[in-house]
């Protein structure tokens, strides 16, 4: 039966890949240890990650204005002022004075607890309302707003005002306005230090490693003559694709857990979703990259060219796929590129699950684009590998 033959051949190819991989210590070290370690540690060190002893917000002068004066708002004040991230947080009684101080550069941020804060928190048990606090920041200091917002969000998300008041604020909402000559920009929802790092690292580690393993691996097979040996056998080319895919999915799984382990243990990342969801998304990104890798290798690209292409791929994704800048913030041609790159949707899904905690299955658009692009890339690669079989074998 052809289907059974394809299956058994795929298993044989995957086993062959494992055997070779196991023998090649440098490949094991680079693929499973160095790449995840390098990206995770460099990202963690670069961000001075949440939970580390270093805090980027600890020494920023900020003011806390409590207009609610309830147990919940007092507990929040105690939580923030007692933390290692808000050493210079002081209290002010008047909101307008505090905002004026922002304009005079006395403070760089004002946290305002509006009236009704506790009531809304209590009410959120039975309805979907969300308590709000307002954050004013000095927009003249680039980078400050996102740091303060990120750190504050981390605390607010984990804030439990009392045993009686069970629900915690699930999402920080900021307002936009112009007060006292200081422009307050709504930055959108921002997230704690290393969670956003996790989304970037998981994606980049998979793309970086998988692309080389697939495209580079096939180029090497072609250059060494083993590709010709394989296609001279009665094996269908789909078995080769499936076998290599199965092998790389296992490596990708190991890498996902390595990055997650490092991110959570070393840098106290706190994903707002289950490990299974992260794994599925990580493997979907790996599959998209594999499809791209097969496509590139079908074009008879040499090993050196694969390495160069890999850097271009990663740089392009950094620029246009929402890894560094939310794709919603891109405009013009950049937005068009971002919206036409299937990887953008994968990164978007990664953020929505890891950062906001959205259920994976609710992200229908992202999932549809990802699955469609995987199927498309694989079918296209298969057709190209068959079409260019002659060129690849010589």
């Amino acid at each position: 039966m052809p289907a059974l033959k394809i299956f058994t051949d795929s298993i044989a190819i995957a086993a062959n890949e494992f055997l070779q991989f196991k023998r090649n210590r440098s490949a094991v070290l680079i693929s499973l240890v160095l790449i995840p370690l390098f990206f995770t540690v460099s990202q963690g060190a670069g961000r001075g990650s949440a939970g580390s002893s270093y805090s980027q917000t600890a020494n920023i002068p900020m003011v806390f204005v409590d207009n609610d004066r309830t147990m919940a708002s007092v507990r929040l004040w105690q939580t923030l002022s007692g933390s290692q991230d808000f050493h210079r947080l002081t209290q002010a009684s008047d909101e307008q004075t505090a905002i004026a101080g922002l304009g005079l550069k006395q403070y760089y941020a004002v946290i305002v607890i509006p009236k009704g804060f506790q009531n809304i928190l209590v009410g959120s048990i039975s309805n979907s309302t969300q308590a709000r606090l307002i954050l004013y920041t000095d927009d003249a200091e680039p980078g400050l707003t996102s740091e303060v917002t990120g750190t504050l969000t981390n605390y607010v998300q984990n804030f439990n005002p009392s045993i009686e008041v069970q629900p915690i604020v699930s999402e920080l909402q900021l307002v936009r306005g112009r007060v006292g000559g200081v422009e307050i920009i709504r930055r959108g929802t921002s997230f704690p230090g290393f969670n956003i790092g996790l989304t970037v690292i998981l994606a980049i580690v998979q793309i970086f490693a998988v692309f080389y393993e697939i495209a580079g691996g096939l180029s090497r097979e072609r250059e060494e003559g083993t590709f010709a040996r394989l296609i001279l056998s009665p094996m269908n080319i789909s078995s080769m694709i499936l076998g290599k895919t199965a092998f790389d999915l296992v490596l990708s799984t190991i890498r996902t857990f390595t990055v997650l382990g490092l991110g959570i243990v070393l840098y106290r990342g706190h994903p707002n979703t289950e490990i299974g969801t992260i794994l599925v998304l990580s493997l979907l990104i790996a599959l998209m990259t594999m499809g791209l890798g097969f496509l590139v290798s079908a074009l008879k690209v040499g090993l050196r060219a694969v390495v160069i292409l890999e850097f271009f791929l990663v740089l392009t994704l950094y620029a246009f796929s929402g890894l560094l800048i939310d794709k919603e913030l891109l405009v013009g041609g950049a937005a068009v590129i971002a919206n036409s790159l299937p990887f953008s949707y994968a990164f978007d899904a990664m953020r929505r699950t890891i950062l906001v905690g959205r259920p994976l299955l609710s992200l229908t658009t992202d999932l549809t684009v990802m699955v469609a692009s995987i199927v498309g890339l694989y079918v296209f690669s298969y057709v190209l590998l068959l079409t260019f079989r002659e060129r690849l074998a010589t």
Binding site: D9, L19, G225, A228, R229, S233, E390, T394
Partner: protein, 326 residues
């Protein structure tokens, strides 16, 4: 196609852009035949092998291998052929046994049969403990033998050996020639491509001489040699011949384009067509330039002589090879 024909080609042609690598190749090879394809580098031998083993598609013409069309029934062809070529290698990071095991799965050989066949092949080539060595740790000779094992694993009816003795030591090359001869005696059809003239002369049933993508002549080694009956070969044992003396001898003999003069290890070898008095002329020329002469003999033309005569002389071959390199 005769009843026992295993390979037939009809006007088989392969072009790469404007370059014609194989031009209207016609051939029939019978079961159990050891057929040698002889030609200089770039003559089109490897391209023919690659077309016949379905690695590349012909630009035009047709061919059947083991009764199957190479275009329409490529999968059936692949199941019945074995290929040993520098472009078709084994996995370097696997042992020979692991390589053979992988390919036995792909060829759907049941486990027990595969193990027995692997053992048989490893014993046949006296691999012993080397069977458990990684391919990258083997010498060129052992690697070639391992490649032959992989090519023979599924008991192919046609075996393509493309420049298989390149890089082998003389003993291994001779052993491989004998082994191949035995395979043919067992009914396997073998196409042996080489640019070493001595090999096909010794072992091949028939030889095809290829030049510039064309099959120039086809026949048994004896037939090819007789085809150049008009060629006279004289060998003179004349030590310490200087460059000037050699040039003078060449001028005195007034050799034409298809003639050849070679001086190596005190032996002066002169090939010329339609010259019955060549030995006498050589003796006179050598004496005229004051050379020492130990002996002068007239020889039968070798396959190399036939090859040179059939392909238009050494200069023509050199021109072709240089053009190919460019």
């Amino acid at each position: 196609m005769t009843e026992a024909a295993v390979i037939t080609t009809k006007d088989l042609t392969k072009t790469f852009g404007h370059f014609t690598a194989v031009d209207g190749f016609n051939l029939t090879i019978e079961e159990g035949e050891l057929y040698g394809l002889l030609g200089p580098n770039g003559a089109g031998k490897t391209t023919i092998v690659r077309m016949l083993c379905t690695l590349i598609a012909p630009s035009s013409g047709t061919a059947t291998v083991a009764g199957y069309d190479i275009r329409e029934q490529a999968a059936q062809v692949r199941r019945r052929i074995g290929v040993v070529s520098d472009g078709v290698m084994l996995y370097r990071d696997l042992t020979i046994e692991e390589n053979l095991k992988l390919f036995s799965t792909l060829y759907e050989i049941p486990n027990e049969q595969a193990n027995a066949r692997i053992k048989e092949l490893l014993d046949m080539f006296a691999f012993k403990e080397k069977g458990k060595r990684m391919v990258k740790a083997l010498s060129t000779g052992w690697t070639k033998k391992a490649m032959i094992c992989a090519a023979l694993l599924h008991r192919p009816s046609v075996l393509f050996l493309d420049e298989v003795t390149a890089g082998l030591d003389p003993q291994s090359a001779i052993a491989l020639q004998e082994f191949t001869r035995n395979l043919c005696d067992q009914g396997v059809t073998v196409i042996w491509t080489t640019h070493y003239m001595g090999e096909p002369d010794k072992i091949c049933d028939r030889i095809g001489i290829m030049f510039a993508g064309k099959l120039v002549k086809n026949g048994t080694p004896e037939e090819l040699k007789h085809a150049v009956n008009g060629v006279t070969v004289v060998e003179a044992d004349t030590p310490d011949l200087s460059r000037e003396q050699l040039q003078k001898v060449k001028r005195k003999l007034n050799l034409n384009g298809t003639s050849k003069l070679k001086y190596e290890d005190s032996k002066l070898l002169i090939t010329s067509d339609h010259n019955n008095d060549l030995a006498e002329q050589v003796a006179t020329a050598l004496m005229d330039v004051g050379a020492k002469i130990r002996a002068i003999n007239t020889k039968m033309p070798s396959l190399e002589d036939a090859f040179i005569a059939l392909t238009g002389g050494e200069e023509e071959i050199d021109r072709f090879v240089e053009a190919g390199q460019k």
